[in-house]
């Protein structure tokens, strides 16, 4: 057990090293340097470009740049090239903004998908199953940004609910209760939108998994014992159907840092996804690479968590 843990951590560190090299190379291979971001600007003289290149160590060989970057990252001294603020501080601030969106969205996704998927599977080909199937494919097919605008129009014109940003401008002056309500309202639409796509896809997976398990011999055995259909489905079948989702549960960790670019952009939500997007446009290498590195760490941590969880829930897997 401990040996497995140690071995897997070492493996993951090696993987992380390769990820860091590859992502560093990809960023540097991409056309456009931060120093050339605005070549048509008349104030941008060749001397300034030269000075910037020197300042950002862009004139040094790639492997030196690599070492300098990761040294700064691990010392926590890494700063953004746009505003000279510490990158980790920036990320933390944006992370806290994205967190409520992520938590509410994920909770909605998982709490809705499972009951819907399970019920569809049990009542296969019934009205409930057919309508959820139709709805799922509808939601999968509608582009997220399009659906978002339809919802915004509806919600703003009919319900008069504020939707843009994290809070209404100037609400800071109001009482705490008003602020909390305002924030909650702002949170509703983006999280629902974030969850719809997830629900549509995940409920399909749950249904498929559940259907496969219901056809298994041991489910028939459970029925032959005279168990009620609730016990058959929710104890014998569900426990087996859930196994693959334990793996998925570990893999939602990276979502913590990824955020959602589209939803955050539409709703002007100052979150992680938007920051990453803006950093890419601005060739802000330190921010891009730090987010990249942290995401890689979370992906690897997620797989480790999945492995450990799998061991807990599936008695056949022992290390």
């Amino acid at each position: 057990m401990l040996a497995f843990f140690g071995r897997s951590v070492i493996q993951k560190i090696v993987t992380l090293f390769f990820v860091s090299v590859v992502s560093f190379l990809i960023i540097h291979l991409a056309p456009g340097e931060p120093s050339q971001i605005d070549p048509l600007n008349p104030k941008f003289t060749p001397e300034m470009v030269e000075r910037m290149r020197k300042e950002f160590n862009l004139d040094k060989p790639l492997h030196i740049q690599y070492l300098l970057f990761y040294r700064n990252l691990f010392n926590g001294r890494i700063v953004s090239w746009r505003d000279n603020l510490p990158v980790l501080g920036k990320i933390w601030e944006r992370f806290l903004n994205s967190l409520p969106l992520f938590i509410v969205g994920t909770l909605l996704t998982w709490t809705i998908s499972f009951p819907v998927g399970i019920r569809s599977a049990i009542q296969r080909d019934g009205i409930y199953d057919k309508s959820t199937t139709f709805l799922s494919y509808l939601l999968i097919s509608i582009p997220g940004f399009f659906f978002a605008y339809i919802l915004i129009i509806f919600v703003v014109t009919k319900l008069h609910v504020p939707v843009i940003g994290m809070e209404t401008f100037g609400v800071t002056a109001s009482s705490p209760l008003v602020r909390i309500m305002d924030r909650t309202w702002h949170l509703v639409l983006p999280s629902i939108l974030g969850a719809t796509g997830g629900v549509a896809v995940l409920s399909r997976y749950v249904r498929g998994q559940m259907l496969e398990i219901i056809g298994q011999d041991y489910v028939r055995t459970a029925r032959a014992k005279g168990l009620s259909s609730e016990t058959v489905y929710y104890k014998h079948a569900l426990r087996n159907a859930l196994l693959p989702f334990v793996t998925m549960f570990g893999l939602i960790l990276p979502g913590l840092i990824g955020g959602s670019v589209i939803i955050e952009s539409i709703f002007s939500w100052p979150g992680m996804g938007r920051m990453a997007y803006e950093a890419i446009l601005g060739r802000d290498y330190p921010v891009i690479l730090t987010i990249n590195f942290l995401t890689a760490v979370l992906v690897l941590a997620g797989t480790l968590v999945s492995d450990l969880l799998y061991m807990v829930v599936d008695p056949r897997i022992k290390i």
């Binding site: 298994q216 011999d217 041991y218 028939r220 055995t221 459970a222 029925r223 032959a224 014992k225 005279g226 168990l227 009620s228 016990t231 014998h236 426990r239 087996n240 196994l243 829930v313 599936d314 008695p315 056949r316």
Partner: protein, 336 residues
């Protein structure tokens, strides 16, 4: 109504028809099957794969998936109760408590994520008002009865930690949990190797004696039939073609299909010879021939066989076969 209440008749299946409606023509998997199981009797249902044996068993327990399966006709009486008329809740109480089933595949019939103690204990707990501790002790006793060594320790094992034979023993323990009147064993030894098969058969025989149960044993293996059967039903293409005591079937078979099955058995006398096999294969349930379903493969086939499927001809002592050709001509065992 059950024609023989309070008799030793435990199960009677009458003219059972189970069809499968999918895409394309209706598959008549079971097409008018009659049989009886008496108390403390071991009844074997014999036939090739696809002749409707398992579907019949699942129909008795109400475990058929409907749809695609449709009960197209017939009745099943169990101890005076008409099973098709029972409400679902009563049917559930019957399952596991009075009729239990042992399935063919011990490898996949146990739930992989629960311990065997849980799964056997559950069968006790669902039908009887006992404490968890009592159920645990019953489970240990049951595992001991079916020959699991050191049951207290094996209780917490998961199915994957057991061998195939042990798993089938656990399945049998589960079936025995509430001391049912009838155990339906659907090819319980097919997936096991021969020595383990012999052990399981001995176990079933012993348990049947001890617990005074009836066993409906489904198999395609005539060797197994010879070892345990009191009464035998031979099924072909969804119908019973011959029935009789085990002695009658083995020594005086009166249906060409039964005779052909017996001929395909390897015996000491036939050592070194090429083994007989019945020409052709079992017709698909959706495309069965008119008349006697066996006629395309039958060596005694006459033109009349292609037109009508005859009823049973009585040979006395409960021995009946559905072949008019052999009945009239008197062709029997010694002429084969």
């Amino acid at each position: 109504m059950n024609p023989e209440p309070h008799s030793d008749l435990l199960l009677s299946v009458k003219n059972l028809k189970v069809h499968f409606q999918g895409v394309g023509p209706v598959a008549k998997a079971v097409n008018g099957v009659d049989f009886k199981v008496r108390r403390r009797q071991t009844v074997c249902i014999v036939g090739e794969s696809g002749c409707g044996k398992t579907v019949t068993a699942l129909a008795i327990l109400g475990l058929l998936k409907q749809p695609p399966a449709v009960i197209a006709g017939g009745e099943i009486f169990f101890d005076g109760l008409s099973l098709f008329d029972l409400p679902a809740s009563q049917m559930r109480n019957l399952r596991g408590k009075r009729i239990a089933m042992v399935f063919q595949e011990p490898m996949t019939s146990l739930n992989p994520v629960f311990t065997i103690g849980d799964q056997v204990g559950e069968a006790v707990l669902v039908h009887e008002e006992v404490s968890d501790d009592q159920a645990r002790r019953r489970t240990i006793q049951l595992l001991y009865d079916v020959g699991i060594v050191e049951p207290e320790k094996r209780l917490n094992d998961y199915p994957h930690q057991l061998s195939g034979g042990q798993r089938q023993r656990v399945m049998i323990a589960m079936a025995l949990a509430c001391e049912p009147d009838l155990i339906i064993a659907d090819e319980p030894t097919t997936a096991l190797d021969v020595t383990v098969q012999a052990q399981i058969l001995r176990l079933l025989k012993r348990l049947k004696q001890d617990k005074e149960m009836a066993i409906q044993y489904i198999t395609h293996d005539l060797g197994v039939v010879a070892a345990i059967a009191d009464h035998v039903y031979v099924m072909y293409a969804g119908v019973v073609v011959e029935q009789g005591s085990a002695d009658a079937i083995f020594s005086k078979a009166r249906h060409p299909y039964t005779m052909a099955l017996l001929d395909s058995l390897p015996t000491k006398e036939k050592r070194g010879q090429r083994l007989y096999s019945i020409p052709g294969s079992v017709p698909h349930p959706a495309y069965r021939p008119l008349g006697c379903p066996f006629h395309p493969r039958c060596r005694y086939c006459e033109p009349s066989c292609e037109k009508a499927f005859p009823d049973f001809f009585d040979y006395g002592k409960g021995h009946e076969a559905r072949c008019p050709v052999l009945y009239k001509s008197g062709v029997g065992e010694k002429d084969r």
